[in-house]
Subunit: 280 residues, 2 copies
DNA sequence: AATTGTGAATACTTTCACAGCG
DNA sequence: CGCTGTGAAAGTATTCACAATT
């Protein structure tokens, strides 16, 4: 635990690289070992989704402008992002939707059917277990884990719920490399340690704690309370700082996307009773 | 929709400012109207959580180093972040936990009891509705909305479920300014338009679509599939690029936080059966 | 003596603007 | 021509290192 100091001269206060710490809070050398800038990687799934949509509506060629619009980014950024993957566009024409989609999916490892284990089957964990998007995106839920005797043995979508005590066996049997931590805060670190100790190298953490993991393990954190607090900050500023609050300063930057600003163009009201997102 | 072009000379391709588009995908002038850098705002809730923890364990003064460790960031970053709020530390000593906590909470508008409406009561929406952290963090869920007749009229935590058709009435009656969209993709834009048309200015979006909103409305997006895909990318690279894969390149940056790297220091195993995070 | 607050340096990201190509 | 791919410029964010302060 002191080689860091030895090697790094203990400047400010010997803090090693913050590494994977909080999800997108912003740290880490940006380019993992070689490749694509971190910020770009975070947008690739967005592009993929946009392409799937376009694909669905029969479009087979798309310009950077149109795709950027669908993804909610600027066209220059889209092109710069894609340029990190290779030259998959055709000058004067645009991108072939199917081809580009394939390339991005490949870059993200979508064809690899990553085995995922979900630990903690409270409301959130259950919501995740029911999430239909997993399979089509290259993930397979291979384990559902909870310590509650009332749940253990039951099945959810044909998958039996495993006792938390048997977590290690499950990991060994399934070879899961991605773990979802949807436990209460108190249990999160212990569960994480056990996951990491038995082959899991990527963790999606829903517990509102900062997880300690060995170097090389990736953690992304999703904290609902935190997201809301960030929104609250903006609301707060809105009332606090009435500098041009009411009227947007002219310039009419209007809308991010295609749809008109003020009110909706009467889209379809789908009566589906709100279950979790249902695929594209 | 052409004043933008008129004013901005139509360069690359007249894209207005990408504005609030995707949550942290990375755009937007960083400093909202005046103040604190966007990246800092995103970390303030983390600091707040860390302070609450320290507070709970009887600590009443903390140095930037210790707090940074608890928050999973570097000490310099912590100090820089806090410096945007004011000079709340004492040189040679550190920060008063209670005082700093209060200051950050104030900056985030935590005392203001923001009224929140949740639309869509599938697994995820229900998980959110059950989330105990809201109240203590300055939010009050004032509305639960779903179109399903089987749900309408039922109560959840003492709050009656409102029919989606009555959304506008609910917004008017409660004055909600923050909306959570937990509907299926197809309904998300329409719900958003209705929210925004009736006073909601901040939206937390769980549907995997890019929402179009008028300028001035803040959107944060949480997309589970996307988070996993980002993790998958790293897994993918891990196998793809075996350049020094096994052994982390020396330098032993080890752990992010306090806990020892390899395995856990035998933390408490709390048998609580995995429900959603349970407060601090 | 310890620790904050902060300019200056570095690193990363986004945006511009245009050459190059189909 | 239209649109991509990309260097160069601009804008943000992070990290360093130290003077100021208790």
């Amino acid at each position: 635990m002191s080689s860091a100091e030895t090697l790094r001269e203990a400047r400010d206060d010997a803090h090693p690289t913050p590494a994977e710490a909080a999800a997108d809070v912003g740290a880490e050398p940006t380019t993992a070992t070689k490749g694509i800038p971190r910020a770009t990687v975070a947008r690739l799934p967005v592009y993929l989704r946009a392409l799937a949509q376009l694909s669905g509506s029969g479009t087979d060629t798309v310009s950077s402008g149109a795709l950027a619009e669908a993804a909610g980014v600027g066209p220059a950024q889209l092109r710069k992002d894609l340029s990190h993957l290779g030259s998959y566009g055709i000058r004067g024409v645009g991108y072939d939707v199917a081809y580009l989609r394939f390339q991005i999916a490949r870059e993200l490892g979508e064809a690899e059917e990553w085995p995922v284990v979900i630990v903690g089957l409270g409301n959130l964990g259950t919501a995740l277990a029911n999430y239909s998007g997993f399979r089509s995106r290259g993930f397979r839920v291979v384990g559902l884990v909870d310590p509650d005797p009332a749940l253990v043995g039951q099945t959810l979508h044909g998958l039996a719920i495993t006792d938390l005590r048997d977590l290690e066996d499950l990991l060994a049997a399934t070879g899961a490399v991605i773990g979802v931590v949807a436990t209460p805060s108190e249990a999160a670190q212990e569960v994480t340690d056990r996951l990491v100790g038995h082959g899991v190298t990527s963790i999606l953490n829903f517990a509102p704690v900062v997880l300690a993991v060995p170097d090389g393990v990736h953690v992304r954190k999703v904290d609902l309370g935190q997201e809301l607090q960030i929104l609250a900050y903006h609301e707060h500023r809105r009332v606090e700082e009435p500098a041009g609050t009411r009227d947007d300063p002219v310039v009419a930057p209007g809308i991010i996307d295609g749809a008109p600003a003020g009110l909706p163009p009467a889209p379809v009201l789908v009566p589906t009773h709100g279950h979790l997102e249902g695929e594209d």
